[in-house]
Subunit: 212 residues, 2 copies
DNA sequence: CACCTATGTGAACGGTGTCAAGATAATCTT
DNA sequence: AAGATTATCTTGACACCGTTCACATAGGTG
């Protein structure tokens, strides 16, 4: 593999290495996938020694989280845009789902990194729930689609459900096994739309309540 | 970390090393998670040299796939049992979903390994679609719940949707952020049930068709 | 028995994450 | 401005990893 080349020569002190490292990380992620994303490779790509990153991130993990954070921000704004450009409330919900899945399709390595980010798997990724993340948009879209904002528990369950469904589709939509179905439906996006609608929550909002 | 100890002394030739390696892999997975699962650690745990596994698996990947295969088999039978023990067709569908998610909860590292298994992420895990895997059960349960077996495309979409939803819930149900909601709902399983039902497909089977 | 093949060992290679010690530059104090 | 302090980067080392190669050992077949 022709290794990516570092930019021009730089002074002893880089100036803004943390930012450069994050960008280098994303570049490597795009080119070589998560497997290629080693701390040393990132340092190499940024043109510094293998130990340099440790002055900005205590860990490899911490660097990955920084990369992941960028991903969450971008996912958040993609979701926001999708929601804004929908004709009505129910379409907004589906649009959000499609945008979510498309983001994962277009940035598969980044998306994986976003979920591995926690590195412990027992905690939701830090930035998934932040202010301008997708959560808020899903929640608000659900309300606009008819969910009762007073029933907090119901609303949270629906938000979780929508998020889970989108995540599941996002991780599986790329499988080759679905190729024929995709072409039969007219491409990738119609396929995603169809799956999301079959999942249910994206299509039918007001259902009879079910008690546990 | 107190390293796991190898079993008693063995003759020069192990007898059934591949099996032993797979078991060792699962043990390590349970104790230390996916991060601890190195080829060398597996060999150590099985009491052989680091190079020994290469006579049974061409790759680390191939070993992991063997471990994953065991997981898929067990997931398949868990799903089968859940389906069989349901009073009616619609309950069967939900039961399958709950069993799926519970399997992932009880074997988190194994479950992750099952999906990483392909090692390329563009292919569905090999054993996910095999004869006695969950796929068949979901499909059949959908039919029994009222899906038209003649509408192949519709059926495949519904199966995919159900699988995606279950997978999404499986990966996110463990997040700490949902703890309070879990206790409010009376435990882990009611929570999973509630989320699955909110996802939609597990609760409402016969909906008006939606055209792309 | 001799021979071949399957299965094990050992040592080695390059790659990885991480840390400690030292070099260098920017900044702060006086 | 000079000296001291702090932030940043480099070098070199350590243990671990996946993998390969040459060699050792055992089982099975002629």
């Amino acid at each position: 593999m022709a290794h990516l080349q570092a930019q021009e020569i730089r002074p002893y002190h880089h100036g803004d290495l943390s930012r450069a490292l994050i960008q280098a990380g994303r570049r490597i992620l795009e080119v070589g996938g998560p497997a290629a994303l080693s701390l040393r490779a990132v340092a190499r790509e940024a043109g510094v020694s293998p130990a340099a990153p440790y002055h900005h991130f205590k860990d490899k993990c911490e660097l990955l989280e920084a990369v992941a954070k960028e991903g969450w921000m971008e996912l958040g704004s993609a979701v926001a845009k999708a929601r804004a450009s929908a004709p009505d409330a129910r379409a907004a919900l589906t649009n959000i789902g499609v945008a979510y899945v498309c983001f994962a399709r277009d940035n598969p390595a980044l998306y994986r990194t976003m979920y591995d980010g926690a590195c412990d798997r027992a905690t939701m990724p830090d930035h998934a729930k932040e202010d301008d993340s997708g959560w808020r948009h899903v929640r608000e879209a659900l309300i606009e689609a008819g969910a009762d904002p007073a029933e907090e528990r119901e609303l949270e369950l629906a938000t979780i459900a929508a998020w889970c469904a989108a995540h599941g589709v996002a991780e599986m939509a790329g499988f080759k096994e679905f190729e024929s179905l995709k072409t039969a439906l007219g491409g990738e996006e119609p396929f995603v739309r169809a799956v999301l609608e079959h999942v249910g929550i994206f299509a039918a909002m007001s259902r009879p309540k079910i008690r546990a």
